[in-house]
């Protein structure tokens, strides 16, 4: 019996080893992986990072933000001007064709904008588009976008969050059809979609003269592999060429092996501690400014960055990501000083500290590190580690006022995408400071850049003075890819396959 098993095993092994396909540049296909099942490829009906990444390959916006200079360059539009505070006129490029052959003109822009702003169409993240009132065709290659009020970040939003769809095709197939067979003008065409599981992109040879540039790699093959260990196994066995969001400890090991390129880049996501200064959830210690300041002095944020986040993460001083427009950096700092924290607590009437619930929804080790620091100065915490949606729901009701949260700003490089969201009396605003709100309002509705900066600066300085938030650190992502791949990641956490090439 034994020999039979032995021969059987060898035969099986031989059969299995034949025909194994390895990813490499020979077949001009870059294999990569998403960690999360993407809802749909229709950009407006999903809210995932993966969807944004796909959208940048398949569609174009009217304008494009240069990653290096931060300047806006025409993409589908060749030029634009503000007619008045709420009207932006675009001249469109001529001769651009969608992947299905449909010609691009003003009708496509008008249709897309008017479709996504219509509340009856229920786009998933209305806030991305509902600053627009409507779009209007002036002639075949001229279009005006009307905003609801002065909206200074319009170009930033148009560059990042408004993909232009082909009007005839979208009218025919709708969101479901766009999710199964996406059609755009972008550097890559979608060859196949297996919803949530598998996406194949092919280089679009007729791509227009866009600031994005033509794609170099012929095919991009993306599979969803939820487990990071499995992703690494695929990388080792040659099944895929590139992964990202690799945890820092594993990235360090991979780097030491010298078999792959490990590239670390910061992201726009920041972590922060929020405190119930307004007493929305009832009377609590954080209504006293000294207690909030004590929290700031109690936590060694640099140590958390050095030991846990690593990479290009940095301590952030202000309630926004440093490179965002209007993100004032010169604000009151809270260096690590546990003695001072204790003094402040005593001053506030808590010489022996107090015990309170602490909420978090991601990066449990970071939350636990913060809790340990807080305990050292006398603030004892009970961790409530929740699903994000559950935490948001509690905050809507004014609960969960003390916790560690994060915000990625949708990769929008403007303070209005973070500070204004959290400090204008919304249901995640536990500061409820009238003055801060007014400054933010002024910044959000003025087109003049200097006036905006001035107002945001005032708001951010007060947020820091009052210690409404303790901003913690910026996040980072590790990208790991084979030595054959030429790629430099950008700080907005968007993987641009069209900028990659083979070495």
């Amino acid at each position: 019996m034994k020999p039979i098993i032995a021969t059987g095993a060898i035969a099986l092994a031989a059969a299995l080893s034949s025909g194994q396909a390895f990813a490499n540049k020979a077949d001009d296909t870059l294999h990569t992986a998403f960690s999360k099942e993407l809802e749909t490829t229709d950009f407006y009906f999903q809210s995932a990072r993966e969807g944004t990444i796909l959208a940048r390959q398949v569609w174009d916006g009217l304008v494009y933000r240069d990653q290096k200079t931060g300047e806006y360059i025409g993409n589908l539009a060749s030029s634009w001007e503000w007619i008045d505070d709420t009207t932006l006129e675009f001249k469109l490029r001529e001769g651009i064709k969608f992947h299905n052959g449909e010609e691009f003109d003003a009708d496509d822009v008008v249709y897309t904008v008017n479709y996504v702003v219509d509340p009856d169409n229920h786009v998933v993240v209305p806030g991305n588009v509902n600053w627009m009132e409507s779009a209007e065709k002036i002639d075949k290659y001229t279009v005006r976008i009307h905003t609801k009020g002065p909206f200074p970040a319009a170009l930033e939003y148009l560059a990042g969050l408004v993909s232009i769809y082909p009007n005839e095709y979208y009218a025919e197939v709708g969101p479901t059809g766009m999710g199964q067979k996406p059609v755009g003008t972008g550097p890559y065409m979608v060859e196949s979609v297996d919803p949530g599981k598998h996406y194949v992109l092919k280089k679009y040879d007729d791509y227009h003269e866009s600031p994005k540039g033509k794609a170099s790699i012929g095919t991009i093959d993306i599979r969803t592999i939820p487990d990071v260990n499995t992703q690494m196994a695929e990388l080792f066995s040659g099944g895929i060429d590139m992964i990202w969001n690799v945890p820092s400890d594993q990235a360090t090991q991979l780097k030491a092996m010298d078999q792959f390129t490990v590239s670390n880049e910061s992201t726009m996501r920041i972590g922060y501690i929020t405190m119930d200064a307004a007493g929305r959830g009832g009377e609590n210690p954080f209504q006293k400014k000294e207690v909030r300041e004590a929290v700031g002095y109690a936590i060694d944020r640099q140590a958390i960055v050095d030991n846990l986040l690593q990479g290009s993460s940095k301590v952030v001083p202000s309630a926004c990501y440093p490179s965002q427009f209007g993100c004032e950096q010169d604000v009151k700092a809270y260096p690590y000083d546990p003695e001072k924290a204790k003094e402040l607590l005593a001053e506030a009437g808590y010489p022996d500290g107090f015990t309170i619930d602490f909420y978090a929804y991601r990066n449990r080790p970071y939350a636990e590190a913060m809790m340990a620091y807080l305990a050292e100065v006398g603030i004892k915490t009970d961790l409530n580690y929740l699903q994000y949606s559950a935490l948001r729901e509690m905050q809507q009701k004014g609960d969960a006022g003390f916790g560690f949260l994060t915000w990625g700003s949708n990769s929008i490089a403007d303070v209005s995408a973070i500070t204004s969201l959290f400090f204008k009396f919304g249901n995640q605003d536990f500061a409820r400071d009238e003055e801060v709100k007014n400054w933010l309002d002024a910044g959000d509705t003025t087109v003049d850049g200097e006036v905006r900066k001035e107002n945001y600066s005032k708001a951010l300085k007060k947020i820091a003075d009052e210690a409404y938030w303790i901003p913690l650190f910026s996040y980072n992502t590790n990208y790991v890819f084979t030595k054959e791949v030429d790629f430099s990641p950008s700080p907005d956490e968007i993987v641009r396959f069209f900028e990659m090439s083979w070495k």
């Binding site: 099942e37 919803p195 592999i225």
Partner: protein
Amino acid sequence: MLAFALKRLGLAVLVTFTVSAISFSLLHLSGDPATAIAGENATEADIAAINEQYGFDRPFAEQYAEWLWNAVQGDFGQSYYFKLPVAELIADRLSVTMTLGVCAISFALLTAVPLGVLAAIRPNSLIDRIALFISVAGQAMPSFWFGLIMIVVFSIKFRLLPPSGSETWRHFIMPTIVLGYYAMPAIMRLTRAGMLEVLNADYVRTARAKGAGAGRVLFKHALRNAIVPVVSLSAVQMGFMLGGSIVVESIFALHGAGYLAWESIGRHDLPTVQALILIFSCFYILFTLLSDLANAWLDPRIRVG
């Protein structure tokens, strides 16, 4: 027998109904579906719009009644998350899970039953010890760890098998072994215990005494009786494998129904979760019924009783 079967069926329908009602309430209690659908980047206005669109602000009973009414008519609605018909989505994912489940339970039975029989024939022998070791190891190893070890050995070291995906039969080998191995110890131990018991029974001695061959005694007289509880156990294990292979499906990126159910809970994709729970509970009921029938065939006493 017919009255008995009908009664069981009626009970099964009630169980299914109760399960769906409980799961519906639990999902609603566990968090705000609108916040989950809107995603991390959503503002409050976004969430309010979704609440209105999906009607989450309506009374809970009304929402459940509406779902139930549609489900009875075969309409499971649209997945909140994938924006696809739930039936279409599940059909796709279920085929992977079914393939994996059938392969895994077959693997478990084909290894566990012969090992159990061998172990029972020679209790406390070397083969019994080996069988015991295998089953203890199977019980003790978490499947995510075993799965990763398999990947390290067969995908990375020897490059024999692809680590993830579900495109070809080769993708199913490692998941089958990992999932099957998890079910194996219980089946093997039960087979061994049952065999030990019946091999010492009077009728087996009688069968031997009347001169029946060793094989005939072993398989016709002994195993047929010893296997009855194993069949029931396998039915439960099969149900578990269809709904509970989440870890294995996740590690090998198989995108089956178990993983879909797990992820859908986190996404508050109520129509998908509800439909999956209904299907899983139907499976459990179906397999229990099948095992009852199989046992009745194996053991005439059950048929009469």
